[in-house]
């Protein structure tokens, strides 16, 4: 088997046992990239030179008998909104087309300490705003399962890279579903951790109270390993939770006996594709067969999630993106008459349509006279949604939902109608609103063979239960084994 086909856990073991050299692993991954990247276009920047230099360094350490970390020598891809010192971090925006950060995000430091090798920065929707990666200024990433279709978004590049074996794991960010939805579209595992479990320091902010970095991987086990490395309190992020490090791989037990899975039947009724519904019902059956207790739950306010989300997320975004003014870094218009003109032209040229739309929405909802009706109201509803989930978790251990109501769509299909695009996030957004952890795992295929993801939502900091249930599902199904045959 080609080395790039292995899982993270497998390849890390092979490197450690010196069955393969890190150089060989890199060769395999880069030849795979050469082979499929021209079709997929998952990467904005490839870090070939840096990767090989680091491979030499790590191999030398390993050969001297030193421990090179749990991810020692494993090629990892990074979403292009996570700052990497000395390497372009563009947010797939013209605004930051040539932006090179002077510091590393905390997660980058964590991964580096664990021995990871960064091989590239992945494509995304501009500033993580979108559900298809189509709003990228850089390129159009294709779904490895059907090159005519989107990979999902906003972390579409990371999901497509894993699905096409162009990396063993990747980092993404999830503000309203940006890890889980592309994971679902591409049939990989994507985890959005509890808000505060992973440091946001160095993640270029979209919506600060919703953003969370998380891993993409080929298996639940690999996902747990990645989480081990990136989770933990960070003094540089006061919203990161002061909790002790855990070994999430310990949670990987093949059983769901004694666990209760909540099913929000009412919520998963309308607007859902038949095939997705079928896969969802099948997942419920699978869990039932495995001995889990299935319980119907009520989430009365969850239907307001999308509206709440598009107020809070855009409000925060309108403020977070103010700094891109053409003064200190980023795109600056070449010709302007005064300071206001400089701002106006630089931002008009630097941002794409979706980003502008959200900045305008956010500016509007925070404006004097509208604040109470929108932003304040949304915060109140947010509290209700949080309470809703809290109550639900009194009666169940996890909640099972589809990740997205439909499977991957064709390019351009929803770009004309942003609202329809926003509806793709209907099942993922409530999780961010409530700050909860959730994982999307391969859960079936539609009649065209496009992947369907199922989503497990956990209680705050309940990643262990989440991973255990996901792992059990994976061990007892074979959806994750199927690979895209178009590439």
């Amino acid at each position: 088997m080609e080395l790039y086909r292995f899982t993270l856990t497998e390849i890390a073991k092979k490197i450690k046992n010196k069955e393969v050299t890190i150089h060989e692993v890199l060769d395999s991954v880069f030849s795979r990239i050469e082979e499929v990247e021209p079709q997929i276009a998952a990467y904005i920047t490839l870090m070939r030179k840096e990767a090989y230099e680091r491979a030499d360094y790590l191999q030398k350490k390993l050969d001297q008998g030193e421990d090179i970390g749990v991810l020692g020598g494993v090629p990892i891809a990074i979403k292009d909104n996570i700052c990497t010192s000395g390497v372009k971090t563009t947010c797939a925006s013209r605004m930051l087309e040539n932006f090179v950060p002077v510091y590393d995000a905390t997660v980058i430091k964590n991964l580096e300490e664990a021995g990871a090798i960064f091989i590239g920065k992945t494509n995304m929707d501009e500033f993580a705003m979108g559900s298809s990666t189509e709003s990228s200024y850089m390129k159009k990433t294709k779904n490895p399962w059907d090159l005519e279709k989107v990979p999902g978004g906003s972390s579409g590049g990371s999901a497509a890279a894993i699905a096409s074996d162009m990396a063993f794991a990747a980092l993404g960010s999830d503000t309203g579903g940006s890890i889980r939805q592309p994971a679902s579209y591409c049939s990989v595992v994507g985890l959005k951790p509890t808000y505060g479990l992973v440091s946001r320091f160095g993640l270029i902010a979209f919506a600060s109270s919703l953003d969370q970095i998380g891993p993409f991987a080929k298996t639940v086990e690999d996902t747990a390993l990645m989480l081990n490395v990136i989770a933990g309190h960070d003094k540089k992020d006061t919203t990161s939770a002061p909790i002790e490090k855990k070994d999430y791989t310990k949670a990987l037990q093949n059983t769901v006996k004694g666990l209760t899975i909540g099913i929000p039947t009412e919520f998963v009724k309308e607007g859902i594709h038949e095939d997705v519904k079928q896969a969802y019902d099948q997942a419920i059956e699978t869990f039932k067969d495995l001995g889990a207790t299935i319980k119907e739950i009520q989430l009365d306010y969850i239907k307001y999630s999308l509206a709440t989300y598009y107020i809070i997320a855009t409000a925060e975004a309108s403020s977070n993106l103010g700094r891109y003014d053409g003064i200190r870094y980023g795109h600056r218009a070449s010709d302007f008459k005064d300071i206001d003109d400089l701002y106006c032209k630089s931002r008009s040229e630097g941002f794409g349509a979706e980003v502008k739309r959200r900045i305008m929405l956010g500016t509007y909802v925070l404006s004097a006279g509208y604040y109470d009706a929108y932003y304040k109201r949304a915060q109140q509803v947010r509290t209700l949604i949080i309470e809703n989930f809290k109550k639900a978790f009194e009666t169940c251990d996890v909640i099972l939902m589809p990740t997205a109501p439909k499977t991957a769509f064709r390019f351009g299909e929803k770009t004309e109608n942003p609202l329809e695009m926003y509806l793709e996030d209907i099942y993922t957004v409530p999780v961010n609103i409530a700050g909860l952890p959730a994982i999307s795992i391969p859960g079936g295929f539609d009649h065209e063979g496009m992947p369907i993801g199922i989503q497990l939502i956990g209680n705050a900091f309940g990643e262990e239960t989440l991973l255990q249930i996901a792992y059990t599902f994976e061990q007892n199904t074979n959806y994750h084994e199927r690979k895209p045959n178009k590439i």
Binding site: T89, V102, F201, A205, K236, G322
Partner: protein, 483 residues
């Protein structure tokens, strides 16, 4: 100002806090370094960075709140104030909007009114923490505007008063009291010249007897007591004249040129920013425990008005002296240290308020830069009190001390200025003087008292002022009355 009008003044004071590091990162707050040497990805608002609140900032703000009788919020939060300006790298300032750290306080101030001094209580609406902006430097030569990030995110407190002041004197008294309290707390350098203490003046006028407030203007960034005083006089008169002409006052932001003595409008309220305040999602709310607040309360230093009372009681100083000495903590510290070395508070107070203040003014320096140290000041008074030197010589020594920074003993010794108190030595000179001035003796005997003064003067001349004047007087009288 016309007698039939009343002026209504409220002040918004910004004080830079004297923390070592900035409010959300570890950069130093040091003033006067090369541009852009005290900044990092956080305070320059690079993408992806996050703020971490400096706890000292909260402590200092709570101190200021407690010292001004504010209620301290057990729960407060920080908010973003959004606007575009090149001195604001994140395009928002982290401030506090609806839940400030401190609110509903007051200060009692002594106003030097035109008809004499009086006391007045001025309400404090709120005190909140926020970050300072960067400094823009306009290069007149190239026409470029440059940004210096050193000041960016230096912590500030904004102290907002109630519209309780009715004259320039009251506003200045409020500012002076506030400055002195902040200095006492050591939470701010309060260097108005450097801009670490500056003030915005909100001002409106109305006919006396009117209960509704008039439209107010806000004049930004005044950084001396004089400028505040002059601006208030200017702006009150401007508004009154405008109203008398039948004009209207516009709610606007203004600037004041203290050199020219004129104010002008910067922007009107119509094109004012909508700051779109909302809670800062990158920072957790500030939750303070009872113990935390009590601990700060228990460690507050003695406040100026308490110190003043103590000076009156303990050192029997006149109220005026006590006020002068306690206005500034540095002066009070100087005074208190001096009297530990030589216990003559009244004399020492006189030296400080007289000669020291005069010399400091001439040299345009503050007392902490005074070349005369408290120990030496005490020594000088001691030498005088013990009769080692005369008061005339003391003045001479004082000048020398201020010039050279030398100790008084050293100066006295070097220049041979020790007072002659040796009875035989003085007697010799006195006898000589009496012998050489027979006419004066005759005059004295004839009842001309002035002759005695002349003879004393002659003795002092002979001794270059070093003879103990009391002894000279006694001995002369003795001889004259004998003969």
């Amino acid at each position: 100002m016309r007698e039939d009008y009343e002026v209504i003044i409220g002040l918004e004071v910004h004080a830079e806090l004297a923390t070592h590091t900035k409010i959300y990162c570890n950069c130093t707050t040091e003033f006067g370094s090369d541009p852009n040497t005290h900044c990092c990805p956080i305070c320059t608002g690079m993408p992806g960075t996050l703020p971490v609140l400096n706890e000292k900032v909260v402590e200092y703000a709570v101190k200021a709140g407690l010292a001004t009788n504010c209620e301290i919020a057990r729960f407060s939060k920080q908010d973003r104030k959004n606007y575009f300006y090149p001195d604001l790298p994140k395009a928002y300032q982290i401030s506090q909007y609806d839940l400030p750290l401190c609110k509903d306080g007051h200060m009692d101030v002594t106003v030097e009114g035109k008809q004499g001094n009086y006391k007045k209580r001025i309400g404090i609406t709120r005190i909140h923490i926020e970050e300072d902006a960067a400094k823009l430097i306009h290069d007149a030569y190239t026409g470029d505007t440059l940004v210096d990030m050193n000041r960016c995110a230096v912590p500030l407190i904004e102290i907002v008063s109630e519209p309780d002041m009715r004259s320039a004197e009251e506003a200045v008294a409020y500012m002076q009291t506030l400055k002195s309290i902040l200095e006492y707390l050591e939470v701010s350098d309060c260097k108005m010249q450097e801009g670490s203490l500056r003030c915005d003046v909100n001002l409106s006028v109305r006919k006396k007897g009117e209960t509704k407030f008039g439209t107010r203007t806000e004049t930004k960034n005044l950084n001396s007591f004089r400028a505040i005083y002059n601006l208030i006089e200017f702006e009150a008169n401007r508004q009154i004249e405008e109203l008398e002409k039948g004009g209207v006052i516009y709610q606007e932001t203004r600037r004041f040129d203290d050199v020219k003595g004129i104010g002008y409008a910067m922007r009107s309220k119509e094109d004012a920013n909508d700051y779109r305040y909302f809670p800062e999602p990158d920072l957790a709310p500030i939750v303070l425990s009872e113990e935390y607040i009590a601990d700060i309360q228990n460690h507050l230093p003695e406040m100026p008005h308490i110190k003043k009372e103590r000076y009156v009681q303990m050192y029997e100083l006149p109220e005026y002296d006590a006020e002068q000495l306690t206005n500034s903590k540095k002066i009070a510290n100087f005074f208190e240290e001096t009297i530990t070395h030589w216990n003559n508070p009244k004399a020492i107070a006189n030296w400080i308020m007289g000669d020291i203040f005069r010399k400091l003014n001439e040299a345009e320096i503050e007392i902490d830069a005074c070349p005369i140290k408290p120990k030496d000041m005490a020594k000088l008074v001691e030498l005088l009190d013990k009769g080692v030197i005369s008061s005339k010589i003391a003045k001479q020594v004082f000048e020398e001390m201020f010039e050279s920074g030398k100790s008084p003993e050293k100066i006295v010794e070097e220049k041979g200025l020790v007072q002659i108190s040796d009875e035989s030595a003085i007697k010799e000179i006195v006898t000589k003087v009496v012998e050489n001035n027979p006419q004066s003796v005759v005059d004295y005997k004839a009842g001309k008292d002035r002759a005695l003064g002349f003879l004393v003067g002659q003795v002092m001349k002979e001794t270059k002022g070093k003879a103990n004047p009391k002894m000279v007087n006694e001995m002369l009288l003795e001889i004259l009355n004998q003969s």
